[in-house]
């Protein structure tokens, strides 16, 4: 980490800005053509402002120094000058037109979502992202994987503190990928600075954006629109890979999805469900109900020693499938598969001190979802 005193050197800022690389002080150049264009616009307008600032503040400080009352300065009496006033109205207009032309071109390019080779649906949810590869039968949720122990300061923070997820969005490089973006609850905003994509995900709307990544790598970002209590804990991670690697990954994901789908029909053991349920609970439930199931009443009820939950299995499953309207509890019938729901219900009924011994079968959940 840098010394905080570095801040006191304005020189440092100027030199850093001049190098214009992603320095941690400036906007990243990014890894797409659009992000480079945007970076170029950003630096152009920045230097225009610097030059205007130097001129304006130069005249100002010269006047303050030169025409001091204490040095016996006598005030002039002029108070109007048409030529000057027309000039300093007209010149800024010309500068602005000069700026608007490249900005318009870039914006048009950003809005051209045609001829995409891959469509990915991005769905914002409190507080995770859901990615669906349209036409490929691959879909998954992506939640922050930074443990709460690190946030609470009980563990050392790792390098990608708050910017790590359990399942990153995997994208191929050199292919135009179109994003279709919406939300299941409130407005979120999907943002990855290196890709220069920031787009609100809005319930009831589908927004479009696109990206064509030039370099493989891991690119991190965050939700940019206040979306409730865990807004700060909703990172985005994009893993950009070579095209062949992407095809292999996609095939593996399809196969895993088929495996999971087949698992719905068979009988599951309690231990198996518990093992499957724990990661689901940590990724999906723990941000509100806490890792230890204690919740944060009144907003987020405790799951431990919750008599209604223990006594009424149907009620418990209904809460997870359909959510609770008017609260932060969303419906999971479309975002978790029957195995995951069965596993997480089993987990919450057997973890901590709640040893009900119930092993909820995925087949039973699948039946309820169909109803």
């Amino acid at each position: 980490m840098h010394s905080p005193w570095r801040w006191l050197l304005p020189i440092s800022f100027i030199s850093t800005a001049a190098q214009a690389q992603s320095s941690g002080w400036n906007m990243p150049v990014g890894v797409t053509d659009i992000s480079r264009d945007i970076y170029g616009l950003h630096m152009t307008i920045f230097w225009i402002c610097v030059v205007i600032g130097l001129i304006v503040f130069g005249v100002m400080f010269y006047s303050l120094f030169r025409y001091r009352h204490s040095k016996g300065a006598k005030p002039a009496t002029f108070h109007e000058h048409t030529t000057v006033e027309v000039l300093w109205t007209a010149i800024p207009v010309l500068i602005l037109v000069g700026m608007a032309v490249p900005a318009t071109a870039t914006l048009k390019n950003m809005y051209d979502t045609s001829e995409a080779e891959l469509d990915v649906m991005i769905i914002g949810q409190q507080w995770r992202w859901r990615y669906e590869y349209l036409g490929e039968d691959v879909a998954f949720n992506s939640s922050m994987s930074t443990p709460w122990e690190q946030i609470r300061g009980e563990e050392a923070r790792d390098e990608h503190y708050l910017l790590d997820v359990d399942e990153p969005l995997v994208l191929p490089i050199n292919r135009k990928v179109r994003f279709l973006m919406t939300s299941d609850d409130v407005i979120h905003s999907w943002w990855v600075p290196d890709l220069a994509v920031k787009q609100d995900t809005i319930p009831g709307f589908i927004n479009e954006n696109w990206v064509q990544i030039n370099e493989p790598g891991i690119y991190r970002g965050q939700c940019a629109e206040l979306c409730g209590v865990n807004h700060g804990f909703m990172p985005v991670v994009v893993h950009a890979v070579e095209e062949e690697e992407f095809e292999i990954w996609l095939a593996e994901r399809k196969e895993a999805a088929e495996q999971e789908a087949m698992g719905v029909d068979r009988e599951w053991e309690l231990d198996e469900l518990m093992a499957r349920g724990e990661p689901v609970y940590r990724a999906i439930c723990a941000s509100c109900h806490q890792a230890d199931g204690q919740g944060a009443p009144p907003a987020f009820p405790a799951l431990v020693n919750n008599d209604q939950l223990i006594d009424d299995l149907d009620w418990h499953i209904d809460r997870i499938l359909n959510g609770v309207s008017g609260t932060a509890m969303p419906a999971f019938r479309n975002t978790l598969n029957p195995v995951e729901i069965a596993a997480v219900v089993t987990y919450t009924r057997n973890a901590w001190d709640s040893d009900t011994g119930d092993a909820i079968q995925p087949a039973a959940i699948a039946e309820k979802i169909v109803q």
Partner: protein, 547 residues
């Protein structure tokens, strides 16, 4: 030659509204104690009430900001939970905008507009009283939501639906009511100001003779009358969605969450100018006074203010560049927004040309006014950068935006208010503010404000979103500096309170014309200004004002 003084009999009963609580009134029995302040219809007393109220709210909103900055001092969650953090960011914004900055300008308008146009009082004195006393009601209600079950508003001062409707805490209904009351207060205050300026100018004072503070407030008042009803409409729609089963903003019921943002920012962008236009007026009074030279380009100042006000109705969607507007809308709002730089630039150039070949001295009001010009311009530059729509896809909702609007609001609006207070304190109290202490306040504020807000530019460009209670490790240095700066700035404002209290209680006596280069009508009445001034209208001498 100064304009004729008002009849001298008022002098015998002179008192300062701030200094002592029992001014005798020649005309009728004056209630004593609390009732005097509850029932007062005097523009000076109501002006003082507004200013004291806004100062208290400035500190309450400041404490909320310090809670936020304390939590952000280092990575991790240390002091408050995210839920409370969100309430603090929200309340900080709401209190500072609606309870600190706006009432402070209204207070200055109450005190100074009648004095600057030679009117005996505001046109509608009882309405004036009512406008003020709505405010403590509104903001007591708003602050009380923090103690309600489920907590206070936690959805940001922009309260985007559906986070502020379907997903909001139960106290949101009280928040809506509080905002309605504050809105009524603003509208009534604005109507009063328009009525006063249009009807009660001294004989001989044309519109184009009015001081710029009066001009900017006249335009601001029209903005208020135009947009506060839009705010009232949008919060009423929220109220219906929350309590009466409508679906204005609920997509599940066929509603439109983006409609909320269009309505909010149709109010919100003019609102931003409501908080800066009167500041332009104050600075345009102070700079010529201490440069001992007439304001350069008076007419162009007036036209620029009008142009900014008109443009403010055509730029609202630049707050919404990433919500998925059509390309044509995106381009339209980018161009109109860039255009605002033109009249704003004209103002800055005029102020600097006023300084050029003046005879400049650096009393406390001038220090704050000069800092305003520099730092507001820096805020203007980042505003110009934000106007570039493609770049805004990277800037939007980051700390770069937070840095931008704090530069135009803190060393912008708030420094202008402080400049105005230092400038007019001799008129209000009859004493000059303590020079050394005021300078100390200025330099501490300058250091504090830049230490707090300048690093935010970098944090935002490096990728830190706004409104997060915890952040990735690469933002740690920026936040550390910002937090230290914030506490320093907050503590420095206690010096301001000390200066004001000392000035009310005593100090170097000020003559009627407290500043050598001051020209407007308020400097023709004694210092402190008697409770009643201009009971007989003064004769306005245009020659004195430069023609």
């Amino acid at each position: 030659m100064a304009p004729k003084l008002p009849p001298q009999h008022s002098l015998q009963h002179s008192s300062t509204a701030v200094a002592d609580g029992q001014a005798p009134d020649a005309h009728h029995e004056t209630p004593k104690g609390v009732m005097r302040w509850l029932l007062t219809t005097n523009h000076k007393e109501i002006g003082s009430l507004y200013l004291i109220f806004s100062l208290i709210m400035f500190f309450i909103g400041g404490i909320f900001a310090l809670v936020v900055r304390a939590e952000l001092f280092q990575p991790g969650l240390q002091l408050v939970e995210p839920e409370f953090f969100n309430q603090m960011t929200t309340m900080h914004g709401l209190i500072m905008v609606f309870a600190a900055v706006m009432p402070a300008f209204t207070g200055l308008a109450n005190w100074m507009i009648p004095l600057q146009i030679g009117a005996p009082d505001m046109a509608l004195p009882r309405l004036n009283n009512f406008s003020f006393w709505l405010l403590p009601v509104a903001f007591t209600l708003l602050l009380s939501t923090l103690l309600m079950p489920g907590g206070g508003p936690n959805f940001g001062w922009t309260f985007y639906a559906p986070l502020s409707t379907t997903y909001a805490p139960p106290s949101t209904t009280f928040f809506i009511l509080a905002l309605h009351i504050a809105g009524i207060s603003s509208i009534l205050g604005a109507i009063n100001i328009v009525a006063t300026i249009l009807n009660m100018r001294a004989p001989g004072m044309r519109m184009m003779d009015m001081p710029l503070f009066v001009w900017t407030w006249l335009i601001t008042a029209f903005l208020l009358i135009a947009v506060m009803p839009v705010l009232a409409g949008v919060i009423t729609m929220m109220l219906m969605d929350i309590n009466f089963g409508t679906s204005f903003f609920d997509a599940a019921g066929g509603g439109d969450p983006v409609l909320f943002q269009h309505l909010f920012w149709f109010f919100g962008h003019p609102e931003v100018y409501i908080m800066i236009l009167p500041a332009f007026g104050i600075v345009s009074a102070i700079i010529p006074t201490f440069a001992r030279k007439r304001l350069f380009g008076y007419a162009s100042m007036v036209y620029a203010t009008g142009a900014i006000a008109l443009l403010s109705f055509l730029v609202w969607a630049h707050h919404m560049f990433v919500v998925g507007l059509p390309l044509a809308a995106e381009l339209f709002f980018m161009y109109t927004t860039m255009l605002i730089a033109v009249p704003t630039g004209v103002k800055v150039f005029n102020w600097i040309t006023t300084l050029f070949r003046g005879s400049i001295s650096f009393e406390p009001p001038m220090l704050f006014a000069l800092a305003f010009v520099v730092l507001f311009t820096i805020g203007g530059f980042s505003g110009l950068m934000l106007a570039i729509a493609p770049a805004d896809f990277q800037y939007h909702d980051t700390y770069f935006v937070v840095a931008h609007f704090h530069y135009v609001l803190v060393p912008g609006a708030i420094f202008a208010i402080m400049a105005g207070v230092y400038y007019w304190l001799p008129k209000w109290t009859g004493h000059y503010p303590h020079e050394r202490l005021a300078q100390c306040h200025f330099w501490c504020s300058i250091v504090g404000v830049n230490l707090t807000f300048f690093p935010m530019h970098f944090a935002g460009l490096a990728g830190m979103p706004r409104r997060i209670p915890d952040y990735a490790l690469q933002f740690a240095d920026f936040n550390l500096v910002s937090s230290i700066g914030a506490f320093f700035f907050g503590a420095s404002q206690l010096i301001f309170v000390l200066v004001v209290v000392l000035c009310v209680r005593g100090g170097k006596k000020a003559p009627a014309k407290a500043w050598e280069g001051a020209e407007d009508l308020e400097w023709s009445v004694p210092s402190p200004a008697p409770l009643h001034t201009f009971e007989t209208p003064p004769v306005f001498h245009r020659a004195q004002h430069g023609e």
